[in-house]
């Protein structure tokens, strides 16, 4: 019985808890991406850099608040700095929309021109973030580090294996739940949210019913930038901030959005967890886990790891390919293919 519990604790510590928090972060990223896809109908390659930009602004605000002595211990200061980051990200998104995308929208350029334009936006933001904050790792979490420490868990349960839950992980889940609920409430019940869904379903019909295109687009950017900043800040609190990693989050984010059905918000959330859990579960070494579960004295050969940790990103790619092969519309029948 103890062995079973030990195995469970081990699994929870290394797969379940990290998976839930990483999955929540990916879900937020993918939501932001999928909203833009639903409304503006293009894959926004600049999304990773919007995240980096918003997080960078949050970090600066965090530093400012720390200097002023404004902290909310035991929670990280970044939490109260986030609105500043969100505002900055919204600002830059609306500015790029005004300068770049609106022109192509008016011209009714094909979707692919939007994607290329998003390359340009990506490069600009990429350079901007690196110029302003540099390429180094920045860690900006303060306040308490753990909700549950390994030692506390062991003392409380008497198990050999420990379970730790970081504050950032708890925060991630809480913030994701709040943000997700608000977003779904907005899309289901608010007037603008309904207009957005109508627009996503059928542009012409929505136009005929008096939906204002510029307004819908603006709100889409607002939501996308907010979600990107929140996701980026949570990811940065959980790991650390590095512009390079944010660019590389693009692939798992795309994978999550496509797995769920691109353009479909609920799909993006599910897709985020699917990608995160596959990534972690496939690169975890199950050796110790199996030792607990197996018969006494038995040891599996090797690490019992499906893929080396270095192939973390390959998992998103494999999921992407499998989905494209088997069900290109994703779990929830996303937009037209």
């Amino acid at each position: 019985m103890d062995d079973l519990l030990n195995a469970g604790a081990l699994f929870a510590n290394f797969v379940l808890v990290p998976g839930i928090s990483y999955g929540s972060q990916l879900a937020l990223c993918a939501l932001g991406l999928t909203i833009i896809f639903g409304i503006l109908r293009f894959a926004n390659f600049a999304h990773g850099d919007v995240m980096a930009f918003g997080t960078m602004a949050t970090i600066f605000a965090t530093w400012l608040f720390q200097d002023l002595g404004l902290t909310i211990r035991p929670l990280p200061t970044a939490l109260i700095a986030m609105p500043a980051g969100i505002a900055a990200a919204i600002g830059i998104c609306l500015a790029t929309d005004r300068c770049v995308y609106r022109f192509h929208r008016r011209k009714r350029s094909p979707a692919i021109m939007f994607v290329i334009a998003s390359f340009g936006v990506m490069l600009v933001m990429n350079g901007l973030v690196r110029m302003v904050i540099g390429t180094k790792d920045r860690s900006f979490d303060d306040g308490a580090r753990f909700i549950l420490k390994v030692r506390e868990f062991r003392d409380a349960t008497g198990l050999q294996e420990g379970l730790a839950i970081k504050v950032s992980q708890g925060l991630t889940v809480a913030v994701t739940c709040i943000a997700g609920t608000l977003l779904f409430w907005f899309l289901q019940h608010a007037r603008t949210g309904k207009a957005m869904r109508a627009w996503s379903d059928n542009e012409d019909l929505a136009l005929l019913s008096g939906v204002s295109p510029e307004r819908v687009v603006m709100v889409a950017w607002l939501i996308s930038a907010t979600l990107a900043t929140v996701a980026g800040t949570l990811y940065g609190l959980d790991k650390s901030f590095k512009p390079y990693t944010y660019f590389h989050l693009l692939l798992p984010t795309f994978a999550a959005a496509i797995v769920g059905g691109i353009g479909h918000p609920l799909g993006a959330v599910i897709g985020g967890y699917v990608v995160a859990f596959s990534e972690i579960a496939l690169t975890y070494a199950y050796r110790k886990f199996l030792i607990y579960l197996g018969p006494e004295g038995w040891q599996p050969e090797g690490l019992v790891q499906v893929l080396a940790t270095e192939y973390k990103f390959a998992v998103s790619f494999i999921i992407l390919i499998v989905v494209l092969l088997i069900r290109p519309t994703g779990i929830f029948r996303g937009k037209v293919i």
Binding site: F42, A43, F45, C99, V100, F103, H104, A111, I112, M113, V115, I116, A117, F119, G120, V121, M122, L123, V124, M125, N126, G127, L128, R130, M131, V132, G134, T135, F247, H248, L250, L251, F254, A255, I258, G302, A308, E310, Y311, F313, A314, S316, F317, L320, I321, L324, L325, I326, P328, V336, I337
Partner: protein, 437 residues
């Protein structure tokens, strides 16, 4: 080529000459060499995007595949590794062969549906299990052979020039696989899938040490041109340098770079001639027709998917050749140096700025963008130096400016791309429909 094209290319040449006179000829020639390689990559991407409207964001992956192919063709085999791991590797190969065979059989013989999917999965899992039984010990054995110097299987010990077509073939094979999956879906999906395969290729190259030596790099590749040291020792070259009045070291460096430039120019010229011929042939017309209106082309009886597959593989092969040339020029294979910014998005900027659909435009874009990319760094530092004078040496602001200067060029590239898209969507040399005489 139009007069405008002539003018632009001449201006490009003048820029390079100014660099040669202003900085040094060694710098100008190294820029020229990389300009040539970039143009070839841009040419490849232009085939995919400009001729056919296919969206490839995996240039980095195809270039890296070309590089690794050139490396593996040219380095000497590590006999010790083959000796101890040969049998296991052979069994691995046999397992792979039979697994693939079994999968094909299952998919041929069974009716599509849930059962076929389950059977395929089972076959793959069994194959994977058996594979690991032989493969893991083989990898361990190979990587333990003198890890400081080798630790990988080595290559074929063939002339490195043979690596160039091999690089093209490797990239083409990967392109064929990805195209089979992602072509025919909506265009952004191809973009995302190619972005993925590029990351995947780099991950494999970085981590499969038994094959590629991973991040420990393969250095000291063969050269298709003479070595500087050899030139310096030859009496005829010494006389030549003396008669030109250049010191022997500079002269040998320049000579080697010129040799490379000659080789690269030959490849570029060859590809350019072929590409121009193809673009203006009935085949090229068909490609443009498909790009401009798939439905009507399909109504004319053109096989859209097959043509797309064809051009995607061709373009990737050209990029692969360029990747192989790059590795040859550098004389080493360094997986860590493959960054999507430098290898994918920069090439895209080249094609868009040069003029998508126009081969000369791609070449010009390759030259211009690479030139700006390289020269923006000294220019940025120069600008930073002046700003420093104002901000005061040693201040925090000064440190920030100096750290940020190199990233200025990424921003500038993005801005240029956006401006071109908005104000001159055809690029510098827009593709012009050729009217019948």
């Amino acid at each position: 080529m139009s007069t405008r094209g002539m003018f632009c290319l001449a201006a490009m040449a003048v820029l390079l000459v100014i660099t040669g006179l202003g900085q040094s000829w060694v710098v100008a020639l190294s820029i020229l060499n990389l300009c040539l390689i970039s143009s070839i990559m841009a040419l490849g991407l232009n085939m995919q995007w400009g001729y056919a409207g296919l969206f490839n964001v995996g240039v980095m992956g195809f270039a890296a595949l070309g590089g690794i192919a050139a490396t593996l063709v040219s380095v000497a085999p590590v006999d010790a590794a083959w000796d101890i791991a040969g049998t296991d590797l052979a069994w691995t190969g046999i397992t792979v062969f039979f697994t693939v065979l079994a999968v094909i059989l299952v998919r041929r013989l069974m009716d599509p549906g849930r059962w076929r999917m389950a059977a395929t999965t089972v076959v793959l899992l069994v194959g994977w299990g058996v594979l690991n039984r032989f493969f893991d010990p083989a990898v361990e054995a190979i990587e333990s052979v003198d890890p400081a110097r080798t630790g990988f299987l080595g290559g074929l010990d063939l002339p490195v020039l043979l690596g160039w077509p091999a690089g093209g073939l490797a990239a083409a094979a990967a392109a064929w696989l990805i195209a089979r999956v992602a072509l025919g879906l909506r265009a952004d999906y191809l973009a995302i899938a190619t972005l993925g395969i590029a990351e995947m290729v780099i991950a494999v190259i970085k981590n499969e040490d038994w094959l590629t030596r991973g991040v420990r790099n393969v250095t000291g590749l063969d050269r298709p041109v003479p070595y500087e040291i050899g030139l310096q020792q030859s009496s005829r070259f010494q006389e030549l340098a003396a008669s030109l009045g250049i010191d022997i070291q500079t002269a040998s460096t320049i000579a080697v770079k010129l040799c490379y430039a000659g080789l690269f120019t030959a490849v570029l010229a060859g590809l350019l001639v072929l590409a121009e011929k193809a673009l203006h042939s009935p085949w090229g017309r068909m490609m443009r027709a498909i790009r401009d209106n798939e439905t009507s082309a399909a109504a004319m009886g053109k096989d859209i998917k097959a043509r797309h597959l064809e051009i995607f593989v061709l373009g990737a092969a050209v990029i692969g050749v360029a990747g192989a040339m790059l590795t040859t020029l550098e004389g080493q294979f360094t997986p860590g140096s493959y960054q999507p910014l430098r290898f994918t998005f920069l090439i895209w900027v080249m094609v868009i700025i040069g003029g998508s659909g126009n081969n000369w435009g791609a070449v010009l874009g390759g030259f211009l963008v690479w030139f700006v990319w390289i020269e923006a760094e000294p220019a940025g530092l120069w600008l930073a130096g002046h700003l420093l004078a104002i901000a005061g040496e040693g201040s925090t602001v000064a440190g920030y400016i100096l750290d940020g200067a190199p990233y200025m060029r990424v921003l500038v590239m993005g801005l240029i791309l956006l401006l071109v898209l908005r104000f001159a969507p055809g690029g510098l040399l827009p593709a012009q429909p050729r009217r019948p005489a």
